[in-house]
Structure formats: C-alpha cells, structure tokens
C-alpha cells in the first residue's frame, strides 16, 4: 500500500494516483503469495520444535497475523473508495417515502455500502425518520450497517472459506431485512423519545449540503483515510484475537470443544448468544477466534450465532441510541435481532 500522506500544496494529477494504486496492488499480490514461505522461514528460526504445541501455536500466529493484516489493508482501502460513491443524504433520498418490504431490502444493502460511523448513529436516525423513511426501514439500515461488516466478510473468506462468508453475508442481510420489517409491522413510532417525534412531525426541514462530484484522487484519499483509521482501531484486536486463536489451536483439545460447542448440544446456540451480546469487540478481533473454534470442531451455527451477536449488538451503540429511542423500543430491537440470530444458529446446526 502506498503511504503518501503529507498534504501537498499542488494536488497530484489523477493518473499519478491511479498509477500508485496499481503499483500498490501488484506489490500487495506479490507479497501475499510469498507469505506461507516467509512465515515458515520465520518459525524455523525460532528454537521451538515445529510439531510441539507451542510450535503449532506459533506457526498459526506468524502465518495469520500478516495474512489478516494484508487482507484487511486491501479490503478497507477498496471499500473506502466504493463508499465514496454513497452518502447518507443520497441513501435517505432513495429510501424516503418508499413502502416497507422492498425498502427494507434496499435499506439493508445500502447499510453495507453507505459510509457510517456509529458516532453519527443518532443524527442519521433522525435524518432518516424526519425525511419520511419508515421506522422499520431505518432499522434495517441500522442493523445491516454493523452486522454485515466488510472486515468480517473478508477475514472469513481468508481464514475460514468463502462458503461460510457467503452464508454470513446472506443471513446477515436477511436478519436486517426481517428484523426491520417486523419492527415496522409493530408500529412503534410512539416509542421514540418525545423530542424526536417533534422533529418528526415536521418542525424543521433539514437543509443539506450541495453535493459536488468527487474526483478520483479524492476517492483514493477516502480509501487511504479509511485504511489509517481502521488500522489504528483494530490492529491490537487482531493481535489479541489471533493470539487467542493460536492458543485454542495449539492447546485446547478437540473433544472438549466438540462436547461444549458441537451440534449435539442444542443449548450451545443460546449460550453463544448470551455470551456474545455483552462482549464488544470489532469484527476483526472475533474472526480468528471463530476460525480456531471451527477448526476444533465447534458447530457452524453456534459459531455464527456467537459472531453475529458480538458484532451486531453492542452496548455502546445501545447507549447512543438511548438518546432517540425509549428503553422499550431498544428492548424490542435487541429482542428481534437476537431472535433472528438464534434462528440462524439453530437452522445451521440442523442443516449441516
């Protein structure tokens, strides 16, 4: 990846940016292909027998850390560029006044693509609802945005396999669509905080920024910004997560996990959700644990339920949303999403 970040008085021409991005991508690919050899060489230098517990754990750690970091860099940059084509304002315009159903599907998809930071959850929520986006559709957006996370998706492809990643994508969107639709059916508009309803009833027509089309260098810039920001946020979690994964990989015996988290133990799915909801880490920290659990014989549905509950339902987000939603509405929100996650967990354990 390129590391040009000093602000330049003369903006570079677009072709230079494009060239830098292409060169960066080629270097990335060359390095990525050499990773297995590099990590083996590295572990070989250490005074540890490769077939010991410690050796297995170290090999896992030294292969997975650079692999995950590289995949993350690529995807976060690419998503940053893709997201520069979307904005909350455009998304709102697309969703406003639409009928529930189709709009829930659109909202879930746009939730993945629209740039969104959880610190803007409240203004975004109000912006949507006050412009006539139905409450349930707004929820589909708010559930999909953290649930279908590009970091999680790519790490799943890289560490576990594209089949599991596709399943996660499909069911993540599914839960967002269905949960939002259910909340819409319940007609809970009265359970918003009072001041939100006042804005809702048309007290203010929000102005918007006139959009100017971005140039390609500006879009690349967004990608680089996203890269720096996400890396600063998740690198420690990835190290911790992969460290945990390595420990499980090298030390925890297979039969133990099969008994606790295997498909035969029906209670493992609710237990995973109960365990996952209060846990708050970003997707990047959870995935290595997921990989190690799956590798040791934990059931797919149980692990997916655990992962979804960690990522999609977080206490800090609930506290932020408490400013606009009454406690009752938050309880319904958590209840509906949890039910969806439980459903996915049981379905998977039954099918596979």
């Amino acid at each position: 990846m390129t590391m040009l970040s000093s602000p330049h008085p003369q903006p570079r021409p677009a072709w230079q940016w494009t060239a830098a991005v292409v060169v960066g991508a080629v270097l990335w690919w060359l390095l990525y292909r050499q990773l297995p050899a590099l990590s083996q060489a590295l572990v070989g230098l250490l005074p540890v027998a490769p077939d010991s517990h410690l050796g297995a754990a170290l090999a896992f750690f030294f292969y997975d850390v650079p692999k995950v970091m590289m995949l993350l860099a690529l995807i976060v940059f690419a998503m940053g560029v893709v997201r520069s084509f979307f904005s909350p304002e455009q998304t709102r315009a697309l969703l406003a006044g639409r009928r529930e159903g189709v709009a829930n599907v659109m909202a879930a998809g746009l939730g993945v693509l629209t740039p969104f930071c959880s610190c803007s959850a409240v203004p975004l929520f109000i912006g949507f609802v006050s412009a006539g986006v139905p409450l349930g559709v707004t929820f589909s957006f708010l559930i999909a945005a953290p649930m279908v996370n590009e970091v999680a998706l790519i790490l799943l492809i890289g560490l576990v396999g594209w089949q599991v990643a596709a399943v996660y994508l499909g069911f993540g969107l599914g839960i967002a669509i269905v949960a939002g639709w259910v909340i819409g059916r319940l007609h809970l508009e009265g359970w918003l905080q009072d001041w939100v309803r006042d804005i809702h009833s048309g007290a203010a027509t929000p102005g918007t920024v006139e959009g100017t089309a971005l140039s390609w260098p500006e879009r690349y810039r967004r990608g680089l910004d996203a890269l720096c920001e996400i890396f600063a946020k998740v690198w420690l979690w990835i190290l911790l997560g992969i460290g945990m994964g390595a420990a499980i990989h090298g030390y925890v015996p297979q039969s133990l996990l099969e008994r606790i988290m295997g498909a035969d133990a029906w209670w493992s799915v609710p237990a995973a959700v109960v365990l996952g909801v209060p846990m708050y880490t970003n997707a990047a920290g959870v995935i290595p644990i997921v990989e190690a659990l799956l590798g040791k014989g934990a059931a797919l549905g149980t692990v997916l339920a655990f992962m979804m509950s960690v990522i999609a339902l977080s206490l800090p987000e609930m506290i932020i949303l408490r400013q606009v939603l009454t406690t009752r509405l938050i309880a319904v929100f958590i209840g509906v999403v949890t039910a969806g996650i439980l459903g996915v967990g049981f379905l998977f354990n039954a099918l596979f």
């Binding site: 602000p7 903006p11 904005s87 909350p88 304002e89 709102r92 740039p115 969104f116 930071c117 610190c119 803007s120 409240v122 203004p123 975004l124 109000i126 912006g127 949507f128 006050s130 001041w195 804005i199 007290a203 203010a204 027509t205 929000p206 102005g207 918007t208 920024v209 500006e218 967004r222 910004d225 400013q323 606009v324």
Partner: protein, 78 residues
C-alpha cells in the same frame, strides 16, 4: 464576522475539524467565531446526518468526515 458552527457529538474528528477551521480563519485574517454544537437535537435540526458537519453563517457546507483542507478558505471567504 463569520459565524462558524461545527456539528458533532464531541468525537476526536469533530475536535480536529474545529481546530482546522480556527487555524484557517486565523491564517486568512478572517474574524470568525467557531462554535461547537454537541446537542443531538440541534445537530439533527441542522440537517446534519454524518458528523462532523460545518456551517458558515447558517449555511451547511460540509457533512461527514474531516473536511478537505483545500476547501476551508472557500467556505470562509464567500
């Protein structure tokens, strides 16, 4: 006298944005009051959906993410 408002709940980027606007105004020799608006209702009423948002003399000029440093002068000078 320019009236600049920075809309945001008080995250790091909102602080940085306020600092950028103050520095830009000082550099251009434009008198400006830079005020931070952290109240959620006020942010929402201003029509800001992604923070930080910037308004100059009541007109919203930017929303979402750090502003492009090259654009600050234009906003302050209009």
């Amino acid at each position: 006298m320019k009236d600049v408002k920075i809309y945001g709940p008080g995250c790091k980027r909102c602080e940085t944005t306020a600092e950028m606007m103050r520095a830009a105004a000082a550099e251009l020799g434009i008198e400006a009051t830079v005020e931070k608006v952290t109240d959620m209702a006020a942010i929402a009423r201003a029509g800001v959906m992604s923070t930080p948002g910037i308004s100059v003399d009541g007109k919203l000029v930017h929303a979402g993410g750090l502003p492009d440093p090259a654009k600050l002068a234009g906003w302050l000078q209009d």
